[in-house]
Symmetry: C2
Subunit: 546 residues, 2 copies
């Protein structure tokens, strides 16, 4: 039996586009001699569909699309994921399911049992867990089909309860297929290979695994679909961050003990780079826009975002707006101009002095006798926010947000000012990682001016301001933030690692007090195991660590 | 046995304040002769603690606080809710639990079985469902203790599977106690009485039900704790929107067939009014602020929010900023001034012309030859946003957002402009309901000027603009929005009710396209069964109904 793995980029709720793409890849798999073509989890509607699932109409449209796909499964079988109704009227309304399509119709339905409900996942919000499991017989082979998380609960996992495979294995299947929507983080590809290999080994079956690729707003799917033999050895790996379709001969996977030429893994920074490019591209493509705007300050964050945007969208489609104030140093404008020239994007210089003066006058009476402080600093950031949003409104550019994860964490940014934007490009990238990204971007030639990389970071909202005036040095800050955010360590546990008590308490307090700001920030492209956004849900008016 | 129901207002993560309050109410219950005092679900840490639950330290602090409370349970027993660790290392890390405290220690632990994971609830994200159930014996009586949702799965519910009560009843309890964190919506009080009464009747046991009161950012708990006799008749009802402690004699509830003088229910608008007042008060009190600022346009939305804020915080603590532009009609400023004078709040008049001119000049080159359009309209709204945020930053006022639910739904508002604010006061109140609220506020005397109520709504961002230029009339719009948002109806279903096809498609498209704006709006006080925010999680870059 020849099995095609179709690793595609879906668009949530875009039934027309998804169905067309699936049907085209059925045809392609046929021309490549496949007997069976496998698409990803919820491929019909895209993943995650979120509360679209609460609309009956949406569920009907999923079924209609799948019936359309079925018509094209005549000389080939197909596995495709979609939500299906729970007709028992007991428990949740839906199952996260897959259709096995052959002879032009639905021959079997497989349902997911283990429903991820943590981090960015909310599956128990919508789906009832499956409790009955049955293999699928096709062309003399018995297939144990499972959906994503169903294979993640293996018995070297301390949370192991039982897995649908423990039931399916009793029917003596010949192979396993797992269809997934497994989001990218820079730690996740290794983990995925480890878990899936353990499954193949445990059940002593070859395993075919299909993931999605593509970004759905903030969640990025990296692809990297996999094939293992019955000993858990990796036999093949599809592309990362790109669509791919490959056909495998089951006999060969079962019997040929050839070693897979395991390619060198990408470094974390390379993966993050590729993920962010895909994240930007898909945000624009799927929302129907092609041009971006951003404020370019001469600092490293906006420089990196500008470089990523130019790579993702083409330099012709990126408008960088330089908005110097009276506190901007001369080199800032020059650094920003150098970048724009190095990279060839559009740019405008719009000084904000006139706006700042106007606000000074408008507020003169209300602020009479009061010294310059945070209020005036923020006004400058908000004038810039208003200018780039005006460019966005006038020309249909989409505003990219340039805040990094360290700033987002401690609230070092102005709400409705530099925290504006449709999508946060580097909001899941710590400042120390932003420097690494800059160096990676400059690997072949100097795109980001060296001065932008080496000068001390500054918001330039008052004379001679430096980030280090109000924040600890980023190498210390980022380590403490990582302990708190990624590893969920509280005050005492972090202090116990040798960090200074007042510093730890100050940073954790800043993080927790800034929750009201983060609630109003744009969605952030997720590249770490714990990003701000849907995956981290904190109370706003709380009093823990504050 | 005498049972005290303690209906209190907790603050999430504020262990010091919550513990102190619980201990004080144990003492109060003692002085009133109670044998047992019952506090609400997760009373120790406040509900919903969200991802605070993922910090081991937080769970330890919960246990420490409960041990402190236990010390005060010597001549009285106490039931109090808190998260406890799942030591089995199987499934989720925690249980949503309650301690039964007596003789100065923890005598029993009850765990929740049915974990709401829908709308604003995420309990399966954190908690493992309980599977073992045991009654608590105290003073010769056997208590069937359950937690909130555990009683909501009764057998006239089509989703009925089984309830912990079906197990507990086998031990022949004498009474039921249910501790809850049941959020307010204007439909929920009647529903709650119906469901709980059905439980009392079904199991033929008296039922004591304790809810929380108080707002936790956007979620408002209305209290209204209840007592039923074994026939399901309501015997007592604690206060709504206020703390309360009442003591009941079990014998009397069991044996005296007196009829409860069921007070007249509040109307929906009265309930919404009281909920919003509490929502504002708790947002400020729990975040440590006392003064509010808002933009006052002369229109009905800001007028209603200003009146609510003055009632909640005192007129002395509310600063209304009038920011007329060249498009503001003369009556707008006068209407706003009339309101400020009627109500006695602080006010400032800050015309925005100078700011608008400055942006015109700053953008003159970039916008050369292009006509006035949405870009310039939005600049005005963003100048206003910047001014009120400057007032906030300078004086420590908290900015109230004044967008209504109809506007939020269709995206009729300027992001970073009039969509700014720390908390959305009327973002879950449709425009037609805002008019009703205004009339209710004016019941005793004219607070909101009649002209504000009767004039046609306008954003006043260009000459002679009216909302009805770009939106359908609000009475039609709100009905369609209600079908789509509250009742989750798709295009076809709404058209089938007799609404015009192009209108329905246009409105649903507006709603779904505005998702990117709503992602960045402030948290919105929830008063309906389906509010924007955590309870409605839609894809941003999706293509359903667009």
């Amino acid at each position: 039996m020849k099995i095609a793995l179709a690793q595609l980029n879906y668009h949530i709720g875009n039934f027309e586009a998804n169905t067309k793409k699936i049907i085209e890849h059925i045809a392609l798999a046929k021309t490549k001699g496949a007997d069976l073509v496998v698409f990803a989890e919820l491929a019909i509607c895209g993943y995650p569909p979120r509360d679209f699932l609460e609309f009956d109409e949406f569920i009907s449209l999923c079924n209609e699309a799948a019936q359309e796909v079925a018509k094209h499964c005549k000389d080939i079988a197909c596995i495709v994921g979609l939500p299906v109704k729970n007709d028992v009227l007991q428990g949740k309304d839906l199952f996260n399911a897959a259709y096995f399509l052959a002879d032009g119709k639905v021959k079997a339905i497989t349902k997911k049992a283990l429903l991820p409900t943590y981090d960015v996942f909310d599956e128990y919000r919508y789906f009832e867990p499956a409790t009955n499991f049955q293999c699928i017989d096709f062309k003399g082979k018995r297939i144990a089909l499972t959906i994503c998380e169903d294979l993640w609960n293996i018995n070297d996992n301390p949370l192991y309860v039982s897995s649908p495979m423990d039931e399916l294995i009793k029917e003596q299947p010949d192979l396993m297929i797992n269809i997934a929507a497994s989001p990218f983080s820079y730690t996740h590809d290794d983990e995925r290979i480890k878990v899936l290999s353990a499954n193949a080994k445990k059940y002593h079956l070859p395993l075919f695994y299909v993931n999605q690729i593509g970004a759905q707003t903030e969640i990025i799917f990296d692809g990297g679909s996999l094939v293992f033999d019955a000993e858990g050895a990796l036999k093949a790996e599809l592309k990362y961050f790109a669509e791919d379709l490959q056909v495998f001969d089951l006999d060969e996977i079962e019997n040929v003990r050839n070693k897979y030429p395991h390619p060198e893994r990408l470094t974390d920074i390379e993966q993050i780079h590729d993920a962010l490019i895909l994240g930007i591209q898909d945000y624009f493509r799927k929302s129907g826009f092609s041009k971006a705007v951003l404020g370019l300050s001469g600092g490293i964050d906006s420089a990196v975002v500008c470089a990523l945007a130019c790579k993702a969208l083409g330099a012709d489609n990126v408008m960088a707006v330089l908005m110097p104030s009276k506190f901007s140093s001369g080199h800032s404008v020059q650094d920003a101009l150098d970048l724009a020239n190095n990279i060839g994007c559009m740019h405008e210089i719009i000084p904000i002095k006139e706006g700042a003066d106007a606000f000074d006058h408008m507020l003169a009476n209300a602020f009479k006798g009061l010294p310059f402080n945070l209020a005036e600093e923020n006004i400058q950031a908000r004038i810039r926010g208003t200018i780039v949003m005006a460019m966005s409104n006038k020309f249909g550019y989409i505003l990219l947000n340039t805040s990094n994860k360290s700033e987002c964490a401690v609230g070092y940014g102005t709400l409705y000012g530099d925290m504006c934007g449709a999508i946060g490009v580097i909001g899941d990238v710590y400042k120390t990682q932003v420097f690494e990204l800059a160096k990676y971007i400059n690997k072949e030639r100097e795109i980001i001016p060296i001065n932008t990389i080496v000068k001390p970071p500054s918001a330039e909202l008052r004379p001679d301001q430096k980030d280090s005036d109000s924040l600890p040095e980023y190498d210390v800050l980022d380590k403490i933030l990582y302990q708190h955010i990624e590893l969920k360590q509280g005050t005492a546990a972090i202090i116990a690692q040798g960090y200074e008590e007042t510093l730890v308490k100050r940073i954790l307090r800043m993080v927790n007090i800034a929750e009201f700001k983060r609630y109003q920030t744009p969605p952030i492209l997720r590249v770490s195991p714990k990003a701000f956004g849907m995956g981290r849900r904190m109370p706003i008016v709380g009093k823990y660590m504050i």
